[in-house]
Subunit: 112 residues, 2 copies
């Protein structure tokens, strides 16, 4: 096969981006590090930019996606809610399904 | 439905973009106008940029996509080859299939 079909998907709410690849990477980094500042650093974006992205996701979502954790050994950090975790896994699931669909279409291009 | 899932697809050859939404719009504009300069103007891109895009498509394709037309009332213009037309309709077809797939996935997001 000479061709590859690539794709990018994103979810919109009220004509605004709600969730796309970049926001999902940020949410995963928060889940890994438990901290918005560490997550921002790992993705090489500013804390301010990371905060704006997370705030935008939380405001558009049906339920909170990220919450501040209080107390415990990770006190002051940030946590994905169960809804946030389901949202990420559903996004990944739809994205993989899209890639699988596109792979089935490759032969149409090769056989033109 | 509050959510919409949007997508962008593009085709790569040897890790380089071969065809995406912008190049398809340019090819369609050439088909309509019969002229690279008119097509470039209608898309508000420079002639040079349009020429580079078309050259890149032609060089990566299995067969020529665009050829110069010689003589006749449109002499000196540009024409899509039959291969070029099939390529565009296949791209559109795959793109619509992708949107249809994504529409079937929406309920997963609503039901989280």
């Amino acid at each position: 096969m000479r061709f590859k079909i690539k794709s990018r998907i994103w979810i919109e709410v009220d004509e605004h981006v709600f969730l796309g690849g970049g926001r999902v990477r940020l949410l995963k980094a928060i889940e890994e590090t438990g901290s918005l500042s560490k997550a921002a650093r790992s993705l090489k974006i500013s804390y301010k930019k990371a905060w704006i992205l997370i705030d935008s996701v939380n405001k558009s979502a049906n339920e909170p996606v990220i919450v501040s954790s209080v107390g415990g050994k990770n006190g002051g950090g940030m946590l994905l809610t169960p809804y946030g975790k389901k949202l990420i896994s559903t996004f990944d699931d739809i994205n993989h399904g899209c890639w699988n669909y596109l792979d089935t279409q490759l032969k149409k291009l090769e056989n033109l």
